[in-house]
Amino acid sequence: MKVLKTETVEVRSTQDVVIVRQRVRSMAIECGFSLVDQTKIVTAASEIARNTVIYGGGGQAIAEHLENERRQGVRLTFEDEGPGIADLSMALKEGYTTGGGLGLGLSGAKRLSNEFEITSAPGKGTRVVLARWK
């Protein structure tokens, strides 16, 4: 698998969430994603980027344009050094929230992605890697 392009965006405020959406959109277009696939990965990115700001206290997003023998894709990595998540299975449950939202962010972003991985521990921050292929 080759990484054709990498972009890093600081995610500190809800304005930065908008910038993440725009960057992910242009990368998805470069990958030749259909409009529906673009919308799905941009929406997933928006959910996780907001979590990075609200729960993680800010961090960064890395977007990569990937290519393997068969297809192209976008991989997004969100990292923060916030308080971390004690119970990951709970956090991934639909409708569960500690922030007063709908509790759809993580579960929804996972459904909108082809690959989804989250690593976190209390005091160790949170890292979410998701990918969508064309």
Binding site: T14, V17, V18, R25, T39, K40, G101, L102, L104, G108
Partner: protein, 121 residues
């Protein structure tokens, strides 16, 4: 702070969202709309989201909040112009906008509001 304009059209208020909204802007719109409903005694609110390329759970929640708040203030809300890709994504995200009325475009939204008002009177 930037604000999303709210236009008065007879008994209705029209909001056309043409920017990629950050969360504070969405919250400000919610506050402004409830104030304008009361100030103008509007009976209906039309929210045109045809330019919105992304509706995530936050914006979806804001749309639901506006619908609930306006109902309590004796006005009906119709969300119009959702792009097909946005609708597909919203459902997959797990958000089906319960309690939010929708129409395909502004014209159909106005028809819907007028019909609802006639039923009331």
């Amino acid at each position: 702070m930037e604000r999303i304009p709210i236009l008065k059209m007879g008994r209705f208020l029209l909001v056309t969202i043409q920017v990629d909204m950050h969360d504070q802007l969405a919250i400000a719109l919610q506050d402004d709309l409830t104030e304008r409903i009361v100030a103008t005694a509007a009976k209906g609110v039309l929210i045109d989201i045809s330019s919105l390329e992304v509706v995530d759970s936050f914006i979806g929640r804001m749309l639901g909040n506006i619908a609930s708040m306006s109902r309590i203030l004796d006005a009906q809300t119709v969300v119009v112009g959702m792009q097909p890709a946005v609708a597909i994504t919203l459902v997959e995200l797990g958000l089906s906008l319960p309690g939010v009325r929708t129409a395909l475009n502004v014209e159909k939204g106005i028809d819907l509001l007028r019909a609802a008002l006639e039923l009331e009177s």
